[in-house]
Amino acid sequence: MADVVLRADGVQKHYGELEVLKGVTFEVDRGQVKVIIGPSGSGKSTLLRCLAMLEAPDAGDVYLETERLTALSEKQLAPHRSEVGMVFQRFNLFQNMTALANVMCGLLEVRRLSKREARERALEFLARVGVADKASQYPDELSGGQQQRVAIARALVMRPKAMLFDEPTSALDVELVREVLDVMELLAREGMTMVVVTHELRFAQHVASAVLMMDEGRIVEEARPDEFFSAPKEERTRRFLALVE
């Protein structure tokens, strides 16, 4: 019996007339790294936001382990959200807080740790992503790569059951992409359960347990990376890969 951490079951989402997710079923097991690729507007980010329960699906269910998140009210949801780490394309670090305060924030406000304990933990996680020396800097003073690593530390310090990455390197200058991917690769090796939306196909090839192709609100194909890249079954996948490579 597979140990499922996150599961979407027939998730639908639309904004007005626009159907963004047309009944997506998806799951990620403990320790798995699933990479989602697909053209823009295919619903990748929306799926991720539904998994993080930042958006409520219009139909279908989302489960975190055995808990049905879609059955919970907004108030009940807040603590559950901290069980799933989310990393955004534009980092979204709190601009009014130093790197350290960003990482401490969830520990203080949500986990209710003491200041001393939160500080210790936060420093430890800043060190893990290699930005301990930037602890007292504000986001404005950090490079994109450093900001994204602080953002990863901020999510990680909550000890989430899974980490979701929404195009974590798309907003970075080319020379800064590597430092963020390295941190993510390290996380994957340590056994973190991850769902990653990205255009970094080499990362997908090296790190993913499975690669998924999304198009027009559906999952078109899911396969192990070697199969996915060498012998994609679907015509849509072949066309997309030809465009990206």
Binding site: A78, R81, S82, Q95, C105, Y138, P139, D140, A151, M158
Partner: protein, 246 residues
Amino acid sequence: MLASFDAHLFWTALSSGPYWRGALTALELTVVSLATAVVIGFFVALAALSNRRRNRSLAWVYNWLFRATPTLLQLYFVWYALPQLWGVFAGHWFTPFAAAWLALSLNEAAYMSEIIRAGLLSVEPGQELAGRALGMTRRQILRKVIVPQAVRIVIPPTGNEFITLLKLTSLAFVISLHELLTAAQELAAATFQYPEPLLASLVYYLVIVSILMMIQARLERRFTWTSRRRRRRFGPPVPAISHDAR
């Protein structure tokens, strides 16, 4: 020198008790009214940004009511009409100062709510999203993330409001509040001299506003988020000049 300028009278006026007390009253009234207006305005702004239609309508009606009617009329209404409509306001506690405080707070709150709303809207939506993803409640996000960032945007126009309000306190003259204009009027009536008493009260306004501008510049530095307290992108503080004819 001017033909009939009496320097002695000017200095006497400047250092006289009524002027001091008048200036102090004007300053007190401005500070308490603005503080009250910020609190009320904050909640009106939240209502205006609410998902609930009813809250948005209430905010709209509030702003409409207090911005569409003259401040002087509101002052008159609070001082003369309110005690006749409502017994509580007929008591001795309802002094000209209390009446002016009530009227100016309610009036100013309408303007402050728009300023605060703009400040809240200026905070990038990604900030709230990140807070929610961490598991923070809306209240926590508002308190720790959004309000501190909105403050920076809200400070310069609030400086303007302070100045407008300071000048509006002279309207309270009509409900017999002893503020700066009263002092000038009384002195002028007693000496039949206008330049000196009026110029003396003008000096007080200039001094109060100058001090305010210094405080504002400090506050703006305080709410700029860099560890070296650099002042990038923001430049010098917005000149606190107001040409509001409320």
